[in-house]
């Protein structure tokens, strides 16, 4: 699709466009289902069984079970949908976002308190910022 997609050269960033949306359709719709308390309870009781009710790929199910949000996003997940899994787990957006960087929770929180991640070196793939592929995963742990 020769469309204007000038957002594909940004490091560590996946833009949720129609292509991603189609890839992640059932993954994201599964996440939406967790907005009902009953479904959250059923999911918690047997995650695998609940996931098997959805026509998701095995890779998507495995990524959910592992709470690997980077992998979920690669497979078409969107953070606002995935956040319903975090909510079900009692995790905050900060814990979820931090989990995608390789930093510990404390490391990520301290980075935010210190003013957040710098944009320098992180604007375009190929620069040398901390979000670039060659510097992953981040964190000292």
């Amino acid at each position: 699709m020769p469309l204007d997609k000038p957002y594909q050269d940004i490091p560590g960033t996946t833009i949720f466009d129609a292509e991603q949306s189609r890839k992640g359709y059932w993954l994201n719709q599964f996440c939406m289902s967790l907005m009902k308390a009953d479904n959250r309870a059923r999911f918690k009781a047997d995650e695998r069984a609940y996931l098997d009710e959805w026509p998701m790929t095995d890779a998507q199910k495995a990524a959910v079970l592992a709470r690997d949000l980077n992998e979920c996003i690669r497979l078409g997940g969107n953070i606002y949908f995935l956040a319903k899994i975090g909510a079900t787990d009692g995790r905050s957006f900060q814990q979820m976002a931090g989990s995608m960087t390789g930093m510990t929770e404390a490391e990520y929180r301290d980075m935010m308190i210190a003013g957040g991640r710098s944009v320098e070196g992180n604007r375009r793939i190929g620069e040398d910022g901390d979000a670039q592929a060659h510097r992953q995963p981040q964190g000292k742990k």
Binding site: I15, F93, A97, R124
Partner: protein, 289 residues
Amino acid sequence: MARITASVYTSHVPAIGAALDLGRTTEPYWQPLFAGYDFSKRWFAENRPDVVFLVYNDHATAFSLDLIPTFAIGTGERFQPADEGWGPRPVPTVIGHPDLASHIAHSVIQDDFDLTIVNKMDVDHGLTVPLSLMCGQPDPVRGAWPCTVIPFAVNVVQYPVPSGRRCFMLGQAIRRAVESYGPDLNVQIWGTGGMSHQLQGPRAGLINREWDNRFLDRLITDPDALSRTPHDDYVREAGSEGIELVMWLIARGAMADINGGAAPKVAHRFYHVPASNTAVGHLILENSK
């Protein structure tokens, strides 16, 4: 005649809602943030509108992937706070203004904006957190929000989202619509979301203080040029969720100076890092009386 008296801009971070709902506003982490809204709450009490036209985005709450409206206007009588996975926020039902909302829908659709009209939807933190910040926390059952609210949801979740320019033009159409409404109503328009934040991937946690503050400067003095900022600038400079800032341009486009009126008065300006993953920006602009 109805008129837009002021515009309010604020981030709408879910953690701010949680801090409010759990009574943690005086903790050292949160205190500086809420202090930035002390003025705003007084200002709001003294300048209470009849209606807030509240521009926000739905965060995969009312709208799943089954149906994604670019622009959705709430013309219903009431809107319930949504259960986003943590249970609904303990805040009152949002009371709409169906007559004005329908009027605006009628007018801006005739002005070539292809709205989706929504009579039934739950509203998420994108709408209720700004209300809490500006109005305080009314009792969820016995209390009520101090004014009616017209929810206006913008798609900033699935690309392509509407351009800043389109949003700015829409704001102008909304001003025309409000001013063609007969009853004498005091209307505020709020733009929410932003400022810099990224909630995903190895680049999560991005904050760009310089870019944000320049955005605030230009929003005040040069919104027309600002509205021409391309999408990828937002993402590159302000993080993947920084794109929410296009919604501020709807509110700004509705101010009088865009149509040849006097420049707005900056009643309040505030900037704070961080709230959870996000840079919080906040502005109050008043039209001259």
